[in-house]
Amino acid sequence: MTAAALSHKFKDLNIDISLVESDHIGTVGVGEATLPHIRFFNQALGIDEATFMKSTEATFKLGIEFCDWGRKGDHYIHPFGDYGVPIDELDFHQFWLKLRKAGGTHRLSDYSYPILAAEQGRFRIPEGDLNEIGSNFGYAYQFDAGLYAKFLRTFSEANGVRRVEGRAVEVGIDGESGNISSIKLEDGHVIEADLFVDCSGFRGLLIEQELKTGYDDWSHWLPCNRAVAVPCESRGELRPYTRATARTAGWQWRIPLQHRTGNGHVYWNEFISDDEATHQLMSTLDGPALAEPKQLFFKTGRRKKFWNRNVVSIGLSAGFLEPLESTSIHLIQEGITTLIELFPRDGVNPLDINEYNARMGLNFERVRDFLLLHYVATQRDDSEMWRYFQAMELPDSLQEKLSAWNARGYVLQYEFGVFLPPSWVAVMHGQNLIPEGHDPRVDRYSIADIEARLEQIRLDTVREVETTPTQVDFLRRHGAASGSPLVSAGKM
């Protein structure tokens, strides 16, 4: 992604970009679900959506279904979009809260176009007035990350990026500045550069192994430290959402692509063995596994400096936050956008480094709080892991958010950070935190008035969903990959 974006943005400049990767080492091989922002990344690169969908076996994503998080047996969808529409500039959910107390029976989800569409396997691209029901949502993709990497590699090479295959075994340091001056590959080939972007994954080849930048360990907040991943055959209907199911010592993902379904179990090895975690995963697949399960190890946290000297770490080398809300690729994108804005001219300026580190630090922190929310906004205490979270002392920022929500359905406001108030509403409400009070301004409306307004919004939403094609139909016209089992399974 970094090579593609830099080569596109700076294609008219005298900047040589080399992409060094080792076929022998390979990539982490997971990372399939994304956030809506990925569309802007592709658009900025001028990538045609249908071509991209086809090349990466992508499906559309309207949100994430969370199963068993609040209580066992529960499920809710965190949509990319709002609930209802604001009424006289007041948040819709406040009216819903009041009506619910007066006996209203409809779910908050019944007023969300993306949730209803997701539940019914439907999809279309939002068009028209983005404040209107049926258009006030976003969407992302679920794709084969390996194919996306290949797609972008081809794109980068067409933009003049020099791809070098080989394993970096040695790093050259400039004696005077302490900056990295070169990397040497196994075959003796030396690559010199002014700036290095470390996208070497968890190992942090340059940022950590060489520069010893250090890591802020956040595992006391997010202690899951392992995952086992396996693809399986697609079965049943193709759903336009990712699923995250809570387990006793972690959670399991299910990401439907056109040609297969990605699965994984993220867990805390303190409370479950690798074998048991693998067993749990393999026994709950939709269809036959398509590969051997792959084991992954990680530690939640962030590099102390994302940008250190002339090395910018992007991707897993910068830090790791579990993929519960599909944020890693988004953080990569944020890193790239910020790097482009701060791209050095004559050597690296400490001011640029400070700004980059401050911005990315904020991004990571705000994602961390949101992920932690899922583990602590719960009634579950049926295993050691859930009891650990029940006893946890939360970061002040998160504690305050929970208190304000529980008291009156108010979401603390911040401008920056990827998750906006509707996301917080989705998770807190979805995990059974029903506020005690509501915004008193809603009390100037009578129950009958609220009931009538909400019913109108609900019916409008249902009507919009009914006119929406199924995802499969939509894909057939827009980005179906040739030969995908989904497409050939009699649905075309």
Partner: protein, 477 residues
């Protein structure tokens, strides 16, 4: 606080008190008794609001039933494209205009092109050029029009607005008492008794301190006002039939500055100087600049000048007042213990205060400001880590560092930096991919279309005159 009825007492009969009273009465249901106790604040203090608003005031006032026809027909309100710093420090002069997001040719922010071309920003800003030429027209909805990127607020007379608000309050169920407050006893975090000079004791669940500089209610609740500097101010009103330009004009001198507001029937000149300096105007008043450490203490919430006092160099005082009220409306307590609301209100208040302070700091931070008492004191107030970061990043490469929910947006900052003569040392590398010829031609095109449009726009006074005729014909009056 949701079952039995509640009483909210607003202390203050000025602009803050009346805006808050009307906002609360219109926003809350019948189980809230809204009581406004007037008489506590001196009217001249409202002059410190500066007589100018930012574009956010349009919707704010509309929600209160004060639409533009009412403002134009029933008061001397006029339009404002911003503030013209006509004679500012070190001879600087620019139009600090309100503007929609600036163009981004080839996806790159305009300021980077300007840096490379060493070009001026002002000729590219329609609201700046129109204001400087004394012209005004409403920005159309069609985004293709150059004028669509102009944004405007109002120039107003605070006394007139209070009168308009009071009439509106009269149409609500709010009770108004014209009395002096003798004492306030904050009995608990949820109950206060306000004793009036009429002998009437009023019980309140929540007290809103809109008492201006007196700050009696919030101080009685334990609030602390932090100040390090005082200013003297006075307002003179000169009747005038000729409506001036759609902007305020500010001129600085050794001892302070003065702002001229151009209304339909008068020119108001606000003079701000060092506290205690003899003024050539009739009555000079004093105000301590600063802010409460916490604007919500116990069950008392301070708004407007009771909470923070900024020099009205920009529409910041009105922006703060509006934010104070909006924050309060969003956080009317629902529980016996308003701790959550209080903490959140104070968190946002502190951020707002800090962000206004750094914007004003950016207008004062200059090496060559006069070495007089007034400007030395002004400069000493500007120290802030956030401002340092903003200034350093802008000077380095034209980067606009932003913080959560700042009242002044990227356009405001860009225009202020340019106006203050700050230029980035280098431009963003992306601009290197666009040829000089291409960027000069893009800039030239914007400049030309702005210029052409301004020549066609009507003078402010004619526009307002025609608008009023039209509104009268439509029976708006």
């Amino acid at each position: 606080m949701t079952t039995r009825s509640k009483t909210i007492i607003i202390c203050g009969g000025g602009l803050a008190g009346s805006l808050a009273t009307l906002s609360l009465s219109l926003s809350l249901g019948s189980e809230y008794h809204i009581v406004q106790v007037g008489g506590i604040n001196a009217r001249h203090e409202d002059h410190l609001y500066g007589g100018a608003t930012d574009p956010g005031s349009y919707n704010f006032l509309l929600r209160l039933g004060l639409d533009e026809p009412t403002l134009m027909l029933r008061s001397a309100t006029s339009f404002s494209f911003g503030t013209h710093f006509r004679q500012w420090l070190d001879g600087r002069s620019w139009m600090q205009c309100h503007h929609a997001p600036l163009p981004t040719p080839s996806g790159i922010p305009l300021r980077h092109y300007l840096t490379r071309e060493n070009a001026g920003l002002e000729p590219l800003l329609i609201s700046a050029q129109a204001a400087l030429a004394g012209k005004f027209a409403h920005p159309p909805a069609d985004p293709r029009s150059v004028l669509a990127s102009a944004e405007y607020g109002y120039q107003f007379d605070a006394d007139e607005w209070v009168a308009l608000l009071d009439r509106k309050i009269g149409e609500t169920s709010a009770r108004r008492i014209n009395a002096e407050i003798r004492s306030i006893i904050h009995e608990s975090a949820t109950r206060s008794v306000v004793n009036l000079d009429t002998g009437e004791p009023l019980e309140a669940d929540l007290v809103v301190d809109a008492s201006g500089l007196s700050r009696y209610p919030i101080e009685a609740a334990g609030g602390t006002f932090r100040t390090s500097r005082s200013i003297g101010f006075s307002l003179s009103k000169t009747p005038s039939d000729a409506l001036g330009p759609p902007c305020r004009t500010i001129d600085a001198d050794e001892t302070g500055w003065k702002a001229t507001t151009h209304l339909q029937n008068a020119r108001h000149t606000l003079r701000v100087s060092e506290a205690g300096m003899a003024s050539d105007e009739a009555a000079a008043h004093t105000a301590a600049l600063g802010h409460l450490v916490e604007a919500w203490v116990g069950n008392c919430v301070a708004i407007g000048h009771a909470a923070s006092v900024f020099e009205p160099l920009t529409p910041a005082p009105m922006m703060m007042l509006q934010r104070d009220i909006e924050r309060l409306l969003e956080l009317i307590p629902t529980h016996a213990d308003p701790g959550i609301e209080r903490r959140e209100f104070n968190r946002r208040f502190r951020n707002d205060v800090e962000h206004v302070a750094i914007f004003h700091g950016a207008l004062i931070t200059i090496d060559s400001a006069p070495e007089t008492e007034y400007w030395r004191a002004a400069r000493e107030q500007t120290a802030s880590g956030k401002l340092d970061r903003k200034l350093a990043q802008f000077s380095n490469r034209g980067l606009l560092t932003s913080f959560d929910l700042e009242p002044f947006n990227e356009e405001d900052w860009t225009i202020a930096h340019w106006g203050m003569g700050r230029r980035p040392h280098q431009h963003n590398r992306q601009v290197d991919g666009v040829s000089d010829t291409q960027s000069q031609s893009e800039l030239g095109q914007i400049r030309n279309s702005v210029q052409q449009l301004v020549t066609k726009m009507p003078p402010h006074h004619l526009y307002v005159g025609k608008l009023k005729q039209y509104l009268e014909k439509q029976n708006y009056a």
